[in-house]
Symmetry: C6
Subunit: 76 residues, 6 copies
């Protein structure tokens, strides 16, 4: 990975912040299981399993808390 | 998806904030499993399974924390 | 549901705040599974299953965090 | 239950705060399953199951966050 | 237990704070299952089970949030 | 372990902060199961199991909340 994989938590909008939360969630998985082939083998499991899908969205929600706080909730 | 899917975290009321938390929870699922047909196949699983239903409401609770903080808890 | 289902996060006391957290938890379930008959079929599952009961109280704890912060912890 | 079941989140010490977090956790279970006999039937399950025990301590940790923040972390 | 089991959340360093988070996690388990023999019977379960081990570290992470906030993150 | 395993929560960048969150997550596992051989036996389980992988990334997300707050979100 290059140095540029997480340059900042600041985003221009809530949408971009939500996408950053998704990226952080994927980074957490990638660093825990660095083997891309192993991750690819698991993807069908969690993409087609309701519990895994909900658990994934819990991670996203947690990361979105962080990003939203970082951006002071994009208050105008 | 259009650009307008998450324009702001600000809402006029706690009710609207809770509905936004529900929307954020659905967005987390949608981005994790972008295939609508696959999501539709899973829906019966988590709608009729107590554990999945509770886990879903945990995601909603987490997102509501974010939205409520963003709105300074709608304090008058 | 009428407009009055979540008029405010402010409560007069910690007890009322805890009850509001319980209400928020039930709302999360209700909005995820809007079919009352389906919810009624699931109720025995999570009322008589230790894991589901603990998971439910985790949702309540998360929502109580939100309500308690909203009320500035009812500090006198 | 009498009116006095949660008069305040303020405690004199971290120990008393941790005990309050335990009480809040038990209240969450009690309100979700109000039938004391049903709770008693479940108690052996979660007292003798590692997953349930850890999940219970997650609820306690979440409630302790709330109580500790309420007390400004008992900073002197 | 003596009165001195949780005298303060303040620690001199992040390391000591992390150790306090571990202690809080163990206290949560101990108070939920006060029978030491029962806890000893469960220990092999969660020490040799990946899910239980990860769930335990989730509790530690939650308690570390509390301790780190209490110490203002040991900012110098 | 030497004294230097967690000298500070301050990092120069979000990337370094995310790596610290990963380190904190591994420390939580290490302190819960101090036996390195036992951890090595478990590693295949959680590296090749979707649920365990997602649960691990939940711990990382929680620790990243702590580190990000400690660093005031690396706001410039």
């Amino acid at each position: 990975m290059t140095d540029a994989w997480l340059p900042t938590l600041m985003t221009d909008s809530p949408e971009a912040g939500f996408e950053l939360a998704l990226k952080l969630s994927r980074l957490g998985v990638r660093f825990t299981q660095p083997d891309a082939a192993a991750r690819d083998r698991l993807r069908p499991d969690y993409a087609d399993d309701a519990s895994a899908l909900i658990a994934s969205s819990q991670v996203v929600a947690t990361n979105f808390q962080t990003v939203a706080a970082a951006n002071n909730y994009w208050r105008s």
